[in-house]
């Protein structure tokens, strides 16, 4: 348990570094006095940073790493070793890369990106994995019973509405957000239209009124097996190379979408255990509605195991991001990440500082995430 505490402290520290990245490393002072006024340039990040170095203010408190990650220091040769004095006698604590970019500042910027990727992709994985896993585990194959008319309305009406939106409304050339809204709207409208129609019909046709079990569990399992059989990293490389303008948002989205199965699997197992517990049966007998039962009684008790997987997922998505930026796909070339620094060290093997420090931060992060996952 001591191990887990240290891991938690380290991850909290990383999070702090990510939040305070601008104060920790940057080419502008934290506090500066100029023209008799106090300025906080590091918090505002407005205008080019060089204005603060050129017209030296009266007094200033500089960040401990006085360089920005993307700033190239032309006064030192490329691949300067640690503690080299750069422009204005400010030290490069951990050396520079080929372009004279500060390694320590790159580490801080890389931490921010790693945290974005870890937390963002986790959120997406949770967004997809939690509903599917919870439904599959809690209701199983016969927990949800719907009339055939409802199922037909959902399946045919929903997909019909979706197809209509894709086939016809894309022609109107809406923006991406409007398109998303239109897609949802059309699906809902299609479902409800068919539902109303079938409601009328099913008064006459008994077959439509018969309630049948919806095999939620089987469907989710099928989805899981399908996504597991996709080779993750390989697909990631392929997908990211399709996009010309690579962005972190896309990277986060794809890593999250590939990772939902882990969340769903654990939550499903936990829900299967919980649904047979006596307090659920007691609540059901005392008249708690099914949806409330799931959301208020079962789900809160299943949070802990999911949190454990979540920690592991954060680690593995950060690892995936580093691997991708090491390969040079995913994040754009001018962005400094742990992976891109490691890649630079391959170009110039003597620059050990470019291999050791980013790798060490990555390793510690992954180890911390792994040890939060109790074995």
């Amino acid at each position: 348990m001591k191990q887990a505490r240290w891991a938690g402290i380290f991850l909290g520290f990383l999070f702090l570094v990510a939040v305070l990245a601008n104060v920790l490393a940057g080419d502008r002072p934290i506090v500066a006095r100029m023209d008799g006024q106090l300025h906080f340039p590091a918090l505002q990040q407005r205008g080019p940073g060089s204005q603060w170095t050129r017209n030296a203010p009266g007094w200033a408190v500089w960040p401990p790493i006085p360089y920005a990650a993307a700033e190239t220091d032309l006064s030192v040769p490329g691949f300067s070793p640690p503690l080299t004095r750069g422009s204005l006698e400010r030290r490069h604590w951990l050396g520079t890369d080929r372009l004279g970019r500060d390694t320590a500042a790159g580490l801080v910027a890389g931490t921010r990106i790693a945290m974005w990727v870890g937390i963002g992709s986790l959120c997406i994985a949770l967004l997809v994995g939690v509903p599917l896993g919870a439904l599959a585990g809690f209701y199983g194959n016969d927990g949800i019973r719907l009339s055939r008319a409802d199922i037909l309305a959902l399946a045919v009406g929903g997909s019909g509405g979706l197809m209509y939106a894709l086939g016809c409304l894309t022609a109107l050339d809406p923006g991406p957000l409007t398109m998303l809204l239109l897609l949802i709207l059309c699906t809902v409208v299609g479902t409800s239209l068919l539902w109303v129609l079938l409601r009328g019909v099913s008064r006459r046709v008994r077959w439509l009124r018969r309630r049948v079990a919806v095999p939620v569990d089987r469907t989710v399992l099928l989805l899981m097996e399908l996504s597991v059989s996709i080779p993750g990293l390989v697909v990631l490389i392929a997908v990211l190379s399709f996009v010309y303008q690579s962005s972190i948002a896309l990277l986060i989205l794809i890593i999250g979408l590939l990772g939902w199965t882990q969340v769903a699997r654990f939550l499903r197992a936990e829900m299967m255990r919980i649904r047979d517990m006596r307090y659920i049966a007691a609540a059901r007998i005392s008249g708690v509605r099914e949806l409330r039962l799931l959301l208020r009684h079962a789900l809160p008790n299943a949070v802990r195991p999911v949190l454990v997987v979540a920690a592991f997922m954060v680690g593995s998505s950060i690892l995936a991001e580093t691997m991708l930026s090491f390969l040079g796909v995913g994040v754009s070339a001018d962005q400094v990440t742990w992976g891109s620094m490691l890649q630079q060290s391959r170009m110039w093997p003597s620059a050990w500082w470019l291999a050791v420090f980013p790798g060490l931060s990555l390793t510690l992060t992954v180890l911390a995430c792994n040890s939060l996952q109790k074995r």
């Binding site: 059989s229 996709i230 080779p231 190379s241 010309y244 691997m323 060290s345 391959r346 291999a355 180890l367």
Partner: protein, 454 residues
């Protein structure tokens, strides 16, 4: 349905889905595949002789199947005809589609577009100004742009373009866009052809060097399999004894150290260690240039097997080490847990009481029962190794399938990328199925028809 049968049914289903994904990506990818296939002389004729260029383009597009509808079914709206795919040039097709979406009356749009196409060929007798405008209009559908371009021409010359444009504008029925249409294209479509070619083993032609993809893969696949096979061998050869002895000497100093070390090994990213090792031991940067820095090694003709083994070992030692050690840690930790629970069973005590030695109990009784998870783990290990070998091959400059994928992805060489993705998917799924099969075959108690513990 029996579990195994279902599992075997999933196999083609997943592959089908993956192939659909790959196909969709190749279609959606930026860049015109026909143009990339064209020889540079043919491409140059675009400016000199558009008619020849168009002929070349059409011939090549027909060869590659780009004159077919993309999929079995087309979901679209009433403004778009079912014959739109017959406009083979991708850029022109996009213009025609945009025009149809805007005006909604296909006969008139078709009339206008054909006229623009005919004039853009620049047949003798047409005015040069009109020709250049028509060529621009082939690529632009924005009505304001079209009108401005037409207004800039002298009215007398522009008449053959203006008349159909006005007719199109007059009879516009933009509301047709809102009517849905479904077209059934039959089996003669691009996806069907792509799928059939895949099944026949024709994986397409690489964009970058026009060599068949199958040939490229058949060169690189054995190398990657050698690398991964060796790694797998190392994993199981060393992880099994370690895991068993860790369980046997539970809570001893050996066990505690091994637990910590395997935890570290599992967490420390393999590609970082590979980077470090490659920087330190394969380059002269630190005076420790002990290992060769690239390739699988040249084997001289008539070399004895010992020499071959020595050369291969020098080249493959570090890559296999880096590829194997995370899985090694994973397997040994799992085996330790499994063996621990077996050691508590009464049959172990019985065997000990009968006077069997500790190692005999461990290897004959405990190992057999604790080894079942090892088989299922194999299924999960295979994709991880394959993915890991992309990085390892990149770092140690091994020209295997991972390098092939990486280079193809950077060069946007989609036929190669999709082929490697599909092959990887196939290997992954086969690994999962084989692991399940092996599990059932080894352990007679396991019935695959029963729902397994999640």
């Amino acid at each position: 349905m029996p579990y195994l049968l279902r599992r075997l049914l999933y196999l083609p289903l997943s592959l089908l889905l993956l192939s659909l994904l790959c196909f969709a990506f190749t279609r959606a990818a930026p860049g015109d595949p026909v143009e990339r296939r064209m020889s540079s002389e043919a491409a140059r004729s675009l400016s000199q002789d558009p008619e020849v260029y168009l002929q070349n383009y059409r011939r090549l597009a027909r060869e590659m199947g780009y004159d077919l509808p993309p999929f079995y079914i087309t979901f679209t709206n009433a403004a778009i005809p079912d014959t739109l795919h017959r406009i083979v040039v991708a850029e022109h097709r996009a213009t025609a589609r945009a025009l149809a979406h805007h005006f909604g009356n296909w006969p008139e749009v078709q009339d206008y577009f054909r006229r623009v196409q005919a004039i853009s060929l620049g047949l003798p007798g047409t005015d040069g100004q009109v020709v250049s405008t028509a060529r621009r209009l082939l690529l632009r559908a924005d009505p304001q742009y079209v009108e401005r371009a037409l207004r800039q021409l002298p009215p007398a010359i522009a008449a053959p373009l203006t008349a159909p444009y006005l007719a199109m504008q007059k009879a516009a029925t933009p509301s047709r866009v809102l009517l849905p249409r479904i077209y059934w294209n039959g089996l003669e479509n691009q996806y069907h052809r792509y799928l059939m070619n895949l099944l026949r083993g024709e994986w397409g032609v690489s964009y970058s060097d026009r060599r068949p993809v199958a040939e490229k893969i058949s060169v690189t696949l054995p190398r990657t399999l050698l690398l991964n096979g060796l790694a797998l061998l190392v994993v199981y050869l060393f992880a099994v004894p370690l895991g068993l002895y860790m369980a046997q000497y539970r809570d001893s100093r050996f066990d505690r150290w091994a637990t910590v070390l395997t935890f570290l090994a599992y967490g420390v990213p393999g590609f970082w260690v590979a980077t470090l090792l490659a920087n330190f031991f394969t380059t002269p940067a630190f005076g420790m240039d002990y290992f060769p820095s690239m390739g699988f090694g040249e084997v001289p003709a008539g070399a004895g097997w010992l020499q071959v083994a020595r050369i291969r070992a020098a080249h493959l030692f570090l890559p296999v080490l880096c590829l194997a050690y995370p899985s090694f840690a994973y397997v040994s930790r799992h085996l330790r847990t499994a063996a621990l629970s077996e050691l508590r069973q009464p049959y172990v005590r019985t065997a000990r009481m009968k006077g069997l030695s500790g190692s005999r109990v461990l290897w004959k009784h405990v190992f057999r029962n604790a080894s079942f998870p090892l088989v299922t783990m194999l299924g999960g290990l295979l994709p991880a190794l394959l993915a890991g070998s992309v990085l390892i091959e990149k770092i140690f400059n091994l020209p295997g399938m991972g390098q092939l994928l990486y280079n193809a992805a950077l060069a946007r060489d989609w036929p190669v990328v999709t082929a490697v993705v599909l092959l990887n998917g196939l290997l992954t799924i086969l690994g999962l199925v084989l692991a399940d099969l092996g599990y059932a075959l080894l352990d007679p108690r396991v019935s695959l028809n029963k729902p397994r513990n999640p």
